[in-house]
Assembly symmetry: none
Homo-oligomer: 243 residues x 2
DNA sequence: TGATAAGATATGTCTAGTTGTATAGGAAAA
DNA sequence: TTTTCCTATACAACTAGACATATCTTATCA
């Protein structure tokens, strides 16, 4: 604050002062979540320092989780971590909307294949029965939060493939094929490291930590309707376990 | 030195990750040989990167020989370097189309001359009988693959000259002059180096390897109808010998 | 039915701008 | 002297947009 960069009695390093100034700008709403910050070049002009000094400030804010930068695109104010409750009912879109955030999703692939031994066991069906494989990305406020791949038994849900392609979410698609309600039967969590493909999709770095959830959803009669795995970007989501 | 302990992870470049993902899709049969890949635009959406980054991935796969792209048309999974079966029936256009590629040809020269001693012997006719000399280039997906020069006996096929000029291929031209079918009587193969003229036509470098085929085709009665030599660009074609 | 023209798509190329990384060096503090 | 902080430069990797050019599709007309 009262530090003068040209003073030789400098208590705080220049980069820290810059980081504080930027953090202040953000907290005061001068830069809102999702906004693009000025380029490093412009910031180094504004603060009258070398670009590397600005970079150190930005890298500090990045580690704090306040800023996220994309090579070639710029630096952006990060959205706050999404709190993601896991309990009897897990509804991605509803959860996010309830938290005042804008949910979205992107379809990567929808296709059919025959159930392997493991998949059949998980869904409690016969090996070789047809499944619908559905993978995609979940976004919160335009920021990728999770990568999922999930399986639906086609013998139970014949028209799920078309429904998934047309609807905005799994809940909606399941309702269209006659599953009015479903609940979470089991959830298993582990931590893994992102491989190159996952990192690409989630816009994080290879080797960054992911939270992997393996879950089974069943209809009111207890029949499995969906079995899937989800990889959450570790720094963008907080999972909360409910009773 | 170690300003950021977590930054020592070696990161796969984005384009490489995309190339790997696509190669994986191809090897798993998601895109079969000859299939059209999604457009660069769609791929850049799917991977959440700029189109240029996708282009670098595709160009990598192209150099590997796994993908071929045609301006205005799209990118396609390569059906191996033109696999060219040599057996009883050798039909350039049909072979290429069966491999999912786009055949084309360019006429270099069509003229008449009297048979030399060697030519007469090959076609089993009298020295001095008139021949039709036909030379040109064969293309696959717009890329020159082979240079050929071939001879037709005019006493047997009077109007072949006009037919060659008008038709799209030898099979078609022969049919028009009454040869409904023909088979390969003999094929001899050697490897040679491209001279300056050949290199120019095939868009390769002088001294690059060529596969030279000397072949005789006969009609169902065993009468020679075509005797020719073909120079294949060695790196653009694989000859397969059939029974 | 077939040919042609026009429009929509898709790849190829070019220019410019932004962040990421590596290297080297100077000035002040420990 | 050594370490830390900052400057300076150069290049690599990725984004962004615009435009050129080839191809495919569709509509239209004869």
């Amino acid at each position: 604050m009262s530090d003068n960069p040209s003073s030789n009695r400098r208590r705080t390093p220049i980069w820290l002062a810059i980081a504080n100034a930027l953090r202040n700008d953000i907290s005061e709403g001068r830069y809102a979540p999702g906004d693009k910050l000025p380029t490093e070049s412009r910031l180094s002009d504004r603060f009258g320092v070398n670009r590397h000094t600005v970079r150190q400030a930005l890298s500090h804010l990045t580690e704090e989780g306040l800023v996220r930068s994309r090579r070639g695109a710029g630096s952006f104010v990060a959205a706050t971590p999404t709190d993601y409750p896991i309990g009897k009912r897990v509804r991605f879109h509803q959860n996010l909307r309830a938290a005042g955030r804008r949910p979205d999703r992107k379809v990567l692939l929808i296709e059919q294949h025959a159930a392997s031994k493991g998949e059949a066991a998980a869904l409690n069906i016969q090996t070789g029965e047809m499944l619908c494989y559905y993978s995609g990305l979940s976004y919160a406020d335009g920021q990728p939060v999770a990568l999922f791949e999930t399986l639906f038994p086609l013998t139970r849900l014949a028209r799920i493939e078309a429904a998934l392609a047309e609807c905005d979410g799994i809940t909606e698609a399941l309702r269209r094929v006659g599953v009015e309600d479903y609940t979470r039967a089991s959830t298993r969590l582990t931590a893994v490291l992102a491989d190159a493909t996952q990192a690409l999709h989630l816009q994080i770095r290879e080797g960054d930590p992911l939270l992997r959830s393996t879950a089974l959803n069943v209809d009111p009669a207890g029949v499995p309707v969906e079995y899937g795995r989800t990889w959450f970007a570790g720094d963008r989501v907080t999972l909360t376990i409910e009773d």
